[in-house]
């Protein structure tokens, strides 16, 4: 199966309420809240594209865009 490769974390700052659920449950500590209490992808290079942040977000404010990484086929 082709593995997923990160394109980007698309964050909707108008919808994010800074609850911190995505930050607390990211298995790789990729996300942080900034000084305005909005989520940012602080360490995107560590993302394993599990998309749990996207699925758990109560505000539909984060989407993990991915590509298929054919090198890992």
């Amino acid at each position: 199966m082709a593995r997923l490769k990160l394109k980007e974390h698309v964050i909707n700052r108008d919808w994010c309420k800074g609850c911190g659920i995505c930050v607390d449950f990211c298995p790789k500590q990729v996300l942080e809240l900034d000084s305005k209490e909005k989520v940012i992808a602080a360490r995107p290079e560590d993302c394993i594209c599990c998309k749990l942040c996207e699925l758990r977000c109560p505000d539909l404010a984060i989407e993990v865009l991915t590509d298929r990484d054919d090198k890992n086929d």
Partner: protein, 269 residues
Amino acid sequence: MSVKEYIRERYFPHMWCPGCGHGTILNSLLHAVDQLQLDKKDLVMTSGIGCSARISGYVDFHSLHTIHGRALAFATGVKLSKPELKLIVPMGDGDALAIGGNHFIHAARRNIDITAIVMNNRIYGMTGGQFSPLSGAGKKATTAPYSTIDSAFDVVKLATAAGASFVARSTAYHVLETIDILKKAINHKGFSVVEILSQCPTHYGRKNKEGNASQMLKFQKDTTAKIGSKALEKNPLLIPRGIFVDNDVPEYCQAYDEVIERAMKGRKA
């Protein structure tokens, strides 16, 4: 398709508090509907009153935001008149099992093809934190400052006893399980009940010192276990998650059509 295709973006950001589990349940439901590739023209959501019930405003399906406790009654009417549509009825624990308890058991008894989702945060969120029939004993609420003495319903056992032909439980923490269960519940022909434990950090969490949304989610993780798991075997006090009932029994609209056919004795209506 993206889940965004199934929402009314103009009403976002939504009204739920930061970290409210109801938002995650909406998220899981949208993913379930998206993965099933359902056409939104075939979906109807009816809801009653409560923070949970506001969900019907956010989905771009046919929707009816009705009266407290009566979402299933409206859904029954829609389903009987247009059986080809898929009915999804999310309810709060108060909406479903306090004021709406009678509608709930009778919809289950009839086995009408509706997907009922109980967004169980164990409190009345919208009206400021009164206890509900799902709070359980020993909990704090605005109406129980010295703690509750009523025991809670077990939604799974109640729905099963009342005759629901699909009964399952998940939590706002276990999103992958929730999506999978919701897909099966929506596809099931008959009355399906999916209880999803949700968190109300604003009222229940604060009153019962359960911490912030993440701590409440961790609590859902720590106090539940999959049916058939070692964890549940070792600690039967954990709340079981999974699919408890999945039966093939005659569905109400189909049975009703057969009555019409018998009454018409082959004549056209």
